[in-house]
Symmetry: C2
Subunit: 352 residues, 2 copies
Amino acid sequence: MSGSSAPRLKDVAKAANVSLSAASRILRGERDRFGAETCERVLKEAQRLGWRRNLLVNGIQTGRTKTVGVMIPPYDSFWVDVLAGIHVVLASADYLPITVWVGDCQEMPHFEKDDKQGLSQISRLLDRRVDGLILWPSFAVAYYDHFRELIERRVPVVVIDHEFSEEQIADSIETDEQRSARAVAEHLLALGHEQITCFSSRETAWQAWAVRRRASFEAAIAELKGLEVNSFRLNQWGTNGLEVAREILSQEPRPTAVFSVTDHEALFIYEAAAELGLRIPDDLSVVGFADLDFSATLQPPLTTMRQQPKEIGRRAAQMILDRLDGDFSDSTPTTVRVGAELIVRGSTSPPS
Amino acid sequence: MSGSSAPRLKDVAKAANVSLSAASRILRGERDRFGAETCERVLKEAQRLGWRRNLLVNGIQTGRTKTVGVMIPPYDSFWVDVLAGIHVVLASADYLPITVWVGDCQEMPHFEKDDKQGLSQISRLLDRRVDGLILWPSFAVAYYDHFRELIERRVPVVVIDHEFSEEQIADSIETDEQRSARAVAEHLLALGHEQITCFSSRETAWQAWAVRRRASFEAAIAELKGLEVNSFRLNQWGTNGLEVAREILSQEPRPTAVFSVTDHEALFIYEAAAELGLRIPDDLSVVGFADLDFSATLQPPLTTMRQQPKEIGRRAAQMILDRLDGDFSDSTPTTVRVGAELIVRGSTSPPS
DNA sequence: CGACGCTGTTCAAGTATTTGAGCACATCCG
DNA sequence: CGGATGTGCTCAAATACTTGAACAGCGTCG
């Protein structure tokens, strides 16, 4: 019934019996110009009325909303951790991330209907005047023009897990795929495996990381031992994981080790192996990638490359903040590569 | 180098050679007052300059920012799906969720340092003038006063998974714990189990759902068969999952079935069972709750209650939108209970 | 010829707040 | 006693629009 919407500064000023601008200055901390008693009165009234500053107005006036748009697929614990990293860093600078979904999250998180959805999401962020943008480049290529426009308007952009095919127009951050794939290769070769298969993800245009991961792995195996890796991948919609896993395990000769480009694919290998009565790691070694939340508790626990999603998130956010603080134009776009660590668990052993 | 920040309406008007207010009206869709040729010119210039409306201004003027604050723990796939549901519904109404983290997401997602963190997060949302608030009530009790203030200001609040201990002051949405727990109880009893243990989560003040879930389960078992359930729980920080699981499986007599209050606890049971050489489901039946992303691919696949997180998210968002659309004061707070479905997989069987 | 419709214009006020400039008054110094 | 200094506060413009009201120029119709 009180029907009162948010109290205005005007109300506070009136209640404390000072002018609007006096109230504004006092509440902004410019107190030395005013008497202690006046300050206290204003503060007390603001408190009593429950006044809070209106950041929208600040946004209009300063051109800074203290928000950063984030466009990533909140798909598994990897992305959740990336988000966590972003949140922590932004929060400590009193920024807030505004996250939008890409893809038809209704039914299939990893699949995007068309470019327009992503573009409209970017639009919605820009309408809110975000100060910066962190994104996973589902269709980065399609957005190039958009990026260029943003950068011209001094809205810093950081892209996660994307390699710019031509000119690099924005900052970029990714897992060091080459080193990581090599670590996996070294591990499997050291165990003595020679029949090695790689289970890649969907390798659509925007899944550049999957391509790089698989290719780096193939290259490492070839370079280290001269062996050829037989590679499989998911279909375009990522719906046939179990079928591919079955296919992988039905090869003649059967591979003794499978490197899955993420832990998700490894799950399908586990499932197919159980179906076929193959024991891990006795009959089959499995290596994943990401160290997702469930990987340590699989039976057997999954050997996997532990990425540093939180660190990736933190660095991404920090890059945005740095760009916003410092001079924007004088530094060229950079790429940060974050390391990953091989966690050896029970899913790998020498071939029998 | 162009150094241009976002173009203003003024720029568009100038470029199209019309007045500011004409440009405003045309771009807002009030076109019938203007000639087709003029409209086209304005639209074209707006497009060319990349003009986009400034929702901050709209927010100041109308008091509606078209944003909804969301405060939930993006902890596992359950919450990710809740978020997805929220996003879908809000996006279709051209709203945007602004998500803040609760808890020290740096190290321990499910643990909050103190009330103040949550309150400061709410503050940051309110400073941005969110139109509504969806939250998971880590410290809902501590926030009661806050809620009351929000509701007085006509900021609708929806609480997920929280039971108001006294007066219900906000809308609330939760999984139907009673029915769900009863379904689990019926399943285990139908299989013939009599030594049944419940593995609860941390049951801190704000984990009301865990308390309700465990208590409902105990009650159902008692009511259906007159049996007593031996219940265990995690410590206050949720750090001793494996120890508790070991303890559970070391009881004399050993339970033949364990109901885990979430799939996370079930993972610990799997791990402890593997350690002790117990086979699931031959020696031990395990039931989880939530049907998280990994549950179907465990070996054996986990029997679990499938909640409807997306539906919960959707309903929560819809409740906010309804409150915003309709008359706010005339309807009393309601509680929505969303059903869950028992998914029987390989982790349960009759006791041997 | 005057009224009317069409297509625009200008004016002014409103949104919530910030901020540079400046004013009134008191005190203090020379 | 005049001028400098400082305190406490106010005024007005600015941010980027929106919106209602009034009005102006032009062609047309009765």
